[in-house]
């Protein structure tokens, strides 16, 4: 086993301000950035605030920015850095700091509440659901999401534009709309809910200009832009601009479940 001393700069502070602090820490074979943060806690900074949970890339708690890039600390191996390099860890920039590496991510929980839930189909009881694997594949990809919020952090619509947060759900929750829209048995339409229109009008789908930053940082490798956001845009656009849909809306206006 080999061991070396690495240089770290870690942001410490709270809502009132703070700054980068320098640390020199021992690093062992096979370690990840989160191991180093834990070593600091156990030795020289016992009150260094950090969120973590499973340490296996499954819960999405230990999100931070490592050398400016949004990452999970538990899945960032020290071997990806040059030994002479100083590794800088800062809190997620798109969310308000609570303390040190911990940010206030309540924005995401607010947005989650704004997406109407799955609507079970009428007349299909528990145990009677029948779906083909090929039809659930797409939504299953989106359900791999571990809610680390790295996509929400990196998305330029909100990263430097606090004012957009009100109108924009962010990639994670637009993907949730896409997931439900593609669920083979979701009965939203029958209940009078148009998920595509809602994506456009209530969750700010139009703000997304498909730069794919969200896909790049996704630790689960979900193709958020290509498989969720672009298809959702296409479906929403079909609705909006299709002349037949327009005509149908005019004629069938009084039917509550009309598209």
């Amino acid at each position: 086993m080999t061991t070396y001393d690495a240089r770290f700069r870690i942001w410490r502070g709270d809502a009132d301000g703070g700054g980068l602090r320098d640390f020199t820490v021992e690093v062992h074979d096979g370690e990840v950035v989160l191991d180093i943060v834990h070593r600091l806690q156990a030795t020289e900074a016992p009150d260094l605030a950090v969120r973590w949970n499973c340490k296996a890339g499954k819960c999405g708690s230990c999100s931070a920015e490592v050398n400016g890039r949004p990452r999970l600390m538990c899945m960032t191996r020290m071997s990806v850095f040059d030994r002479a390099e100083t590794v800088t860890i800062t809190p997620l920039r798109a969310f308000p700091v609570v303390r040190d590496l911990v940010t206030d991510v309540s924005f995401n929980y607010r947005k989650a509440r704004e997406v109407p839930a799955f609507v079970p189909p009428e007349g299909v009881g528990p145990g009677e659901y029948r779906m083909q694997q090929v039809d659930v594949d797409r939504s299953q990809e989106f359900r791999k999401c571990i809610e680390c919020f790295l996509c929400q952090d990196t998305c330029h619509v909100v990263r430097d534009h606090e004012e957009n947060k009100e109108a924009f759900a962010g990639p994670r929750f637009l993907m949730r709309v896409a997931e439900l829209d593609m669920h083979p048995l979701d009965a939203a339409a029958a209940s009078g809910l148009d998920r595509r229109r809602a994506a456009q009008e209530e969750h700010g789908l139009g703000y997304c200009n498909i730069t794919k930053c969200c896909t790049e940082v996704c630790p689960e490798g979900i193709r958020i832009t290509d498989n969720a956001l672009i298809p959702l845009k296409e479906r929403a656009a079909d609705r909006k601009y299709d002349p037949l849909v327009w005509l149908g809306n005019r004629i069938l206006r009084r039917r509550p479940d009309a598209p």
């Binding site: 949970n53 303390r99 509440r113 779906m131 359900r143 979701d186």
Partner: protein, 633 residues
């Protein structure tokens, strides 16, 4: 008197994993105003790490399956120590609990005819585990989280407030269950973000805090698993049951050191992975115990044929219950036939195509690639045992999940004892969470709705809880570092009360625990109360030390080997121990000397197994397990 915010709720659920959320959903749907308190962010609970699946005898893949077969497998897996009524309710209700998840939006993997697919797992006679690749726990937690959110959306529509009837207090910790006389009156909590204290007053508290793995050095468990609910129950006067039974999952990662203990799902074996030692021998054939001899293949050929023709062949011994496989791996490594990093080889690459491995086991592929530079589609994994689950827990009523002796206290999921006996089968945890989470929520809501005056929380109790929680800030001279104490505790439990146990080592563990308790009374922290992990750990230490004492004391008492309790000095399973449960009770009143014993043991006889359930087994099998006087005439 401390200034502490007080709120009134009907039901307080401690923990937001599978059991906690299922309990909260049920309580809220039954009309109870329900508060959920969880240490992590909402949706991050340890349940997300469950990989393989949810056991339920839906019979979608093999139509021979039914609840009776599931019940039998569960009892066998736990070496007949399981609370039979819990095992029965669990086997009967699990399919409904899984199907219900689909109506809440869950998307399981499918069979060709469009039903929920089910996979093989250790100890289950038929393919029984509903799954989503190898991330079933994530699907479960997300589905429950989204159902809870859906209920909040309903409340917003009705009352203009999402949190009118169901509120999640995320990143908050409960340090005491509060009482009024003998019954539950609420919970004392702190908020991690601010360090502020608050009290949730409620006549019913459901403990759903999971397990105790963070007391062991090598564990698959997350930081939350500090035995909080176990300790809260003890401190409230409720006993714990059979705490000596701790499951060491046979396959955890062994290298690199920083990931040692992280789980390698049993699905790898369920889908055809084989275990080999450094000689290349498929050693599990050498470790089939007598009680299972007629149910497992004797040759590699038969084992291989089973994957294609399960009705005409017996199962491969890699699919023995976890306790057997873990002991076998341990023995191989001890005998010098281990892999370079002290494990054995688990290989799935020889049986499945790379595409199939990636489809069936995506997170395992990812985990080994990212963390160990190993491509499991082309080379074997190195694996070894890791502390995974505690079978012991709060002694509860089988029907209602009510804790023994403390009205208003309930427990469900891993924190509850009894269901799994001496060893849990894979897949039975997620179904346990759903079945008994629902039952706990149901009965907690019913208790809260009963007429009569509400219990009251006295200011003295609140002051005492606040003083206890603030003590680490006043440690002064000779303060101990909580991180150091934690490491020493983990080493002691791992080395002395681990997978293989001996009398002298457990006695030594109890001495070390006494000394650690003394030092932990002086655990000190730096900084202030706002999001201070050192402080949180100092408070969690109380719980870990208490629970570790239960494990060591009960393990020393039980002079036999059974399931998740293996004694080198008492290697045989003793039928005379079958009808014996060990209860850990708090020493009352709590001794002032921190080194003094906190736990006393009590032996209780188990309730006789109902005759119609006994009749599900052949007499020849029962003879291997039951004490002489228990056998049917």
């Amino acid at each position: 008197m401390a200034q502490v915010d007080r709120q009134q709720w009907d039901v307080v659920v401690v923990g937001a994993g599978g059991a906690g959320l299922r309990a909260a959903i049920e309580a809220r749907e039954r009309g109870a105003r329900t508060a959920v308190v969880c240490k992590s962010l909402f949706g991050k609970a340890h349940t997300v790490m469950a990989e393989g699946g949810i056991a339920a005898s839906m019979g979608n893949v093999n139509g021979h399956d039914n609840w009776q077969v599931h019940f039998r497998d569960t009892m066998r897996g736990g070496k007949f120590l399981g609370q039979w009524r819990m095992a029965e309710l669990h086997a009967r209700e699990a399919p409904d609990r899984v199907w219900e998840l689909e109506t809440w939006g869950a998307l399981f993997d499918r069979t060709p005819d469009g039903r929920i697919s089910q996979r093989n797992f250790g100890g289950h006679e038929y393919p029984r585990l509903a799954h989503v690749g190898d991330r079933t726990g994530l699907e479960l937690i997300r589905t429950l989280q989204q159902k809870a959110t859906a209920l909040q959306q309903e409340d917003f529509a009705a009352y203009g407030d999402h949190e009118a009837r169901l509120k999640v207090f995320q990143e908050c910790t409960v340090t005491r269950v509060l009482k009024d006389g003998g019954r539950v009156a609420g919970a004392f909590c702190y908020e991690r973000e601010s360090g502020r204290f608050f009290v949730l007053e409620a006549p019913a508290v459901v403990l759903a805090t999971g397990g105790i793995g963070k007391s062991f050095k090598t564990t698959s468990n997350s930081w939350e698993y500090t035995g909080d609910g176990h300790a809260l129950a003890l401190l409230a006067g409720a006993p714990l049951l059979n705490m000596e039974f701790v499951q060491f999952h046979p396959t955890g990662m062994v290298w690199p050191p920083s990931v040692k203990g992280i789980l390698v799902t049993e699905s790898v074996r369920g889908d055809g992975g084989v275990l080999r030692n450094s000689d290349g021998r498929r050693f599990m054939f050498d470790y089939v115990p007598d009680v299972f001899k007629d149910k497992y293949a004797q040759t590699e050929d038969e084992a291989d044929r089973w994957y294609e023709d399960p009705d005409g062949n017996r199962r491969p011994p890699e699919l023995l219950p976890r306790d057997e496989v873990a002991r076998a791996i341990n023995a191989e490594v001890k005998a010098g036939r281990g892999s370079p990093h002290g494990g054995v080889y688990l290989d799935v690459s020889t049986r499945m195509s790379p595409e199939r491995v990636k489809r069936r086991l995506p997170s395992m592929y990812h985990q080994f690639k990212e963390l160990a530079d190993v491509d499991i589609t082309a080379e074997p994994m190195e694996v070894g045992p890791t502390c995974h689950y505690v079978m012991g827990g709060v002694a509860v009523d089988s029907e209602t999940a009510a804790a023994e002796g403390v009205p208003g206290l309930f427990a469900a999921g891993e924190v509850a004892g009894g269901m799994h006996g001496s060893n849990r089968l894979g897949g039975n945890s997620l179904s346990d969470l759903l079945v008994f989470g629902r039952r706990a929520g149901l009965h907690a809501a019913a208790l809260a709705a009963a007429p009569g005056p509400r219990p009251r929380v006295s200011p003295e109790q609140v002051d005492a809880a606040a003083a206890e929680a603030l003590a680490p800030f006043h440690a002064g001279e000779g303060a101990e570092n909580p991180y150091t104490l934690h490491q020493e505790l983990q080493n002691a439990m791992n080395d002395l009360v681990g997978i293989i146990r001996r009398e002298d080592e457990m006695a030594e563990a109890l001495r070390r625990l006494a000394s650690l308790r003394e030092r932990a009374a002086r655990a000190g922290v730096e900084g202030h109360r706002q999001f201070n992990p050192g402080w949180h750990l100092a408070l969690d230490l109380r719980n870990m030390l208490l629970v570790s004492e239960c494990v060591a004391r009960a393990a020393l008492e039980r002079t036999e080997s059974r399931g998740g309790h293996t004694r080198e000095d008492c290697p045989a399973m003793e039928r005379a121990w079958r009808p014996v449960n060990l209860l850990c009770r708090p020493v009352e009143p709590p001794p002032a000397d921190p080194a003094a014993d906190r736990i006393r043991l009590e032996r209780v006889r188990t309730e006789p197994i109902r005759p119609d359930l006994l009749a599900l087994f052949e007499k020849e099998e029962l003879v291997k397990y039951l004490a002489e006087e228990e056998l049917p005439a």
